[in-house]
Assembly symmetry: C2
Amino acid sequence: MTSDVDEIARSILDRLVGAWNVADGKAWGAEFIDDADFVNIFGMQLRGRREIEQRHQYLFDVLFKGSTCEVAVVDTRLLAPTIILAHSTSVAKIPSGPMAGQQASRQSIVFLRSDGGSWQIAALHNTLITSQL
Amino acid sequence: MTSDVDEIARSILDRLVGAWNVADGKAWGAEFIDDADFVNIFGMQLRGRREIEQRHQYLFDVLFKGSTCEVAVVDTRLLAPTIILAHSTSVAKIPSGPMAGQQASRQSIVFLRSDGGSWQIAALHNTLITSQL
């Protein structure tokens, strides 16, 4: 089961990376359930796929324009038959603007299995990795 | 069900606030499952109740010494029969040190019901609320 769980998480995260790297907000949003929640690095809570799509299209077009992203899965576990909890880390390389440079962050992700058996993200929470105090 | 779910989340968060306000790392940790994950505002992932207890006792004794905390539940939902997903916001009033002042943050929390029917936190992720870019 563990390798299946890993593979489910990894394949969805790979598709998110693919969407980021071609700046496609709609493809990004497609990995989330209709009423998913997304808490971003500013502590802002996006509600629902449409808002998640729109905010990310803005990021891809403006704040993170021209950026690329890589993600590494840290851990995954099946918390319930229809729920996977995963953690990952990512590095975004942002060419210009107020966040220019390499931005490392850590994600907690809750995946939900639909009645049809497919998996999507129900909740994602992202925090920049900064110096510990 | 919604009010039950709200009440489960609220009562556990109330106990966390109580633990914070008397600087009790052990009482803080007691709200987490043995192998819980906690991603803090620095993007650091704490693994397991013992590490969560120890880090928070350090915070209560040093970095956040003399601080108080308030939490407001933003939303809750039953994602599976044994899983609640909740979001909350908190304000910590920190009297001194490098983080002195009022620090607002937003949490995503996954609660897990044990076979015995009690609920604990399986995963918590916390991000400071900062200005949007």
